[in-house]
């Protein structure tokens, strides 16, 4: 690197220290250097420049860890969060499917495909068939790329000895979308958009300016309800459809802060799922509503 490059890096780094604090900035710089070695991405200065303007580190580095997986991240598809990682690991620990008793998983609003991919990775080969539905072309393409990266087949028919994850382009509001996916499902997971408009307006730049609003905003602009819960009402309707669930099926929905009780209510009342429970995330926020059919 030419010497003026080094001065530029130093200056940019100093500014990053100013904006993130020394400890975090030092770690991020180290990770950028590692990513530089691993790929032919631009220069360190360019990476620092992007970070300073508020771009999320995960888009700059192009990957994010998710449990033992290392997933691709590409704007504008939502970056998988550590909270989601935590409950997905917990869900994976709770169940032990086998090739003799395989499970079918449906992940709504799949984004990068992180949730079903982690389940497919952790559960024994040949025990899991997963679908992931998303409305965004970007997300579906990324989910397929991630499946390839994790060596999980994303096509049918896949060999019986392997777990499968099939990304499906589709809209949750389309009642027919699930018909071709062979219900009933043993597990339905979702991390649907849940941020209310008034909170969305106050989000940090790195979220608001870079991640897809359609991945974050819980309610359509013309909706009467602006509580961020529109998707949970929609999902409840889907769950109520005949043949979606079987006895003992599990539903796991991620929720935003202070939404757990309301979502629990929606599941009980409009989906008829009485057996519910709430999981907290590692930061002590009620994060997941779990229901058993």
């Amino acid at each position: 690197m030419p010497s003026d490059g080094i001065t530029a890096v130093k200056q940019l780094f100093t500014r990053l220290v100013y904006s993130l604090g020394r400890e975090t900035a030092t770690r991020e710089l180290k990770w950028m250097k590692q990513a530089l070695i691993a790929s032919h991405s631009p220069t360190l200065a360019a990476m620092l420049q992007r970070r300073l303007s508020g771009e999320p580190l995960q888009y700059i580095l192009g990957t994010t860890p998710f449990g033992p997986l290392d997933l691709l991240t590409r704007p504008p598809t939502l970056i998988p969060r550590p909270e989601t990682e935590d409950w997905t690991l917990r869900l994976a620990d709770m169940l032990t499917p086998t090739p003799v008793r395989p499970l079918t998983v449906l992940d709504l609003c799949t984004g990068t495909g992180c949730i079903p991919l982690l389940l497919c990775h952790l559960w024994p080969p040949g025990s899991t068939r997963a679908y992931g539905v998303d409305i965004s072309q970007h997300a579906i393409r990324l989910a397929a790329d991630n499946a390839a990266r994790c060596n999980i087949p994303s096509f049918q028919p896949a060999p019986y000895s392997q777990n499968v994850f099939i990304p499906v382009l589709g809209d949750l509001r389309d009642p027919d979308v699930f018909k071709r996916l062979l219900p009933p499902f043993d597990i339905i997971t979702a991390n649907p958009p849940y941020i209310p408009k008034r909170e969305y307006d106050k989000l940090p730049v790195s979220v608001k300016n870079y991640e897809d609003p359609a991945a974050l905003l819980g309610d359509p602009p013309d909706s009467e309800e602006q509580d961020g819960l529109t998707f949970y009402r929609l999902i409840s309707k889907i769950l109520r459809q005949k043949g979606m669930l079987r006895d003992g099926s599990i539903v796991a929905l991620e929720v935003g802060r202070a939404q757990a009780d309301a979502v629990e209510g929606i599941l009980q009342q409009s989906a008829g799922l009485r057996n519910t429970q709430v999981w907290k995330d590692p930061w002590n926020v009620k994060r997941v509503v779990l229901a058993r059919a």
Binding site: E23, T26, R27, E28, K30, W31, P56, L57, Q58, T64, P65, F66, G67, P68, D70, L78, I79, R81, P82, E83, T84, E85, D86, L89, N191, P193, Y194, I195, E199, L203, P204, S206, V207, E211, A215, L216, E254, V255, G256, R257, D281, P282, W283, V285, R287
Partner: protein, 341 residues
């Protein structure tokens, strides 16, 4: 497939190998000596010279067997011989100079491990602005790494003129090293074995995330473990992945707990034996690196080596490790002999 019994038997055989070898060498040398004796009276002078040379070399072999080889077989095989190692380094007194010296020492151990064929990785480090490190944890994967390196635990002291010191005054700074035992499965996150119970370990994520979830895409992967019965805490934040940090933290926790267990074992044994096996006091100053005199001194065995560069850039550390191992073997030997009296 080999059964556990097969493996145990193979191991036993392997452990008997040195004994077997020493004994056959000994009998072989004795036999040759008996054959050589008559030849020393041979009428042919060339033959007599050859025989007497042979005699000298054979008596030498036999006496080393008596003085060293056989006694060293009395040293019981180390129970920690399979273990890998974690090296924890912490800069002590001396500020940024100590941090720079920490980096020098770290390089010594990385290079040494590489020369033995062990794999190393720095699993935690905090760099200082002047390019040194305040602390670091080095993982060394290789069977026997712990046994070879455990003597490095203690305070290392450096006396030199810092590069930044314009007046040319010598500074004294220290780095504390702790060598911890690491087992193969140390990264496992399930507990309930002889080292700890899972319910005794509190796992905490660090730093608040506000609303968290979709609201925040900041990387937040720091993890802290607390082992309640001992109060040992381990923090890990160097990896981007929380999962990975957690695995690392468990690895360090296991190593620390195993270290506690080993020290206890030694203390218990010491209480029942009259002799002292080397005390491992970590606050003890064990070695001094004196730049002005170009000398490294180990205070425990009073060994000094000239040529600091060979220590810092070559394989000088090997000489110390060998001497310390011999010293330890002698202590154990005396202990064993003392016991049987």
């Amino acid at each position: 497939m080999s059964s556990p019994e097969d493996i145990a038997r193979a191991r036993q055989l392997k452990e008997l190998e040195p004994l077997h070898e020493a004994w056959s060498n000994w009998t072989h040398a004795r036999q040759s000596l008996e054959e050589t004796l008559p030849l020393m009276q041979d009428p042919d002078p060339t033959m007599r010279t050859l025989a007497s040379e042979e005699f000298t070399s054979l008596t030498h072999t036999l006496s080393t067997h008596i003085s060293t080889t056989f006694p060293s077989l009395l040293v019981p095989p180390s129970s920690t011989r399979d273990l890998h190692a974690l090296l924890e380094l912490k800069a002590g007194v001396g500020g940024s100079e100590a941090a720079l010296f920490l980096l020098d020492l770290l390089r010594v151990y990385v290079r040494y491990a590489g020369s033995v064929g062990w794999r190393t990785s720095i699993i935690q480090s905090s760099e200082t602005e002047s390019g040194g490190m305040r602390d670091a944890i080095l993982e060394i994967k290789g069977e026997g790494a712990y046994d070879a390196l455990r003597w490095e635990s203690g305070v290392h002291r450096v006396q030199r003129v810092p590069a930044t010191e314009s007046s040319g005054r010598t500074h004294t700074s220290t780095v504390a090293v702790i060598v911890l035992p690491l087992s193969e499965d140390a990264e496992s996150m399930s507990g309930n074995d002889e080292l700890f119970k899972m319910e005794d370990v509190k796992v905490e994520v660090m730093r608040a995330r506000g609303a968290g979830g979709q609201h925040v895409n900041k990387t937040e992967s720091a993890v802290r473990l607390t082992h309640t019965p001992t109060g040992i805490t381990v923090s890990m934040q160097d990896e981007r992945s929380q999962h990975q940090n957690k695995r690392r933290a468990f690895q360090v926790l296991r190593a620390r707990l195993m270290d506690v267990k080993l020290s206890q074992d030694i203390a218990n044994r010491r209480a029942t034996r009259r002799n002292l096996v080397r005390t491992a006091d970590r606050s003890e100053k064990i070695r001094t690196y004196n730049y002005a005199q170009d000398r490294v001194t180990d205070h425990r065995i009073g060994l000094s080596l000239m040529n600091l560069t060979s220590f810092l850039e070559g394989d000088g550390v090997q000489d110390f490790l060998d001497a310390l191992r011999r010293n330890w073997q002698e202590e154990v030997m005396e202990d064993v002999v003392g016991e049987s009296e």
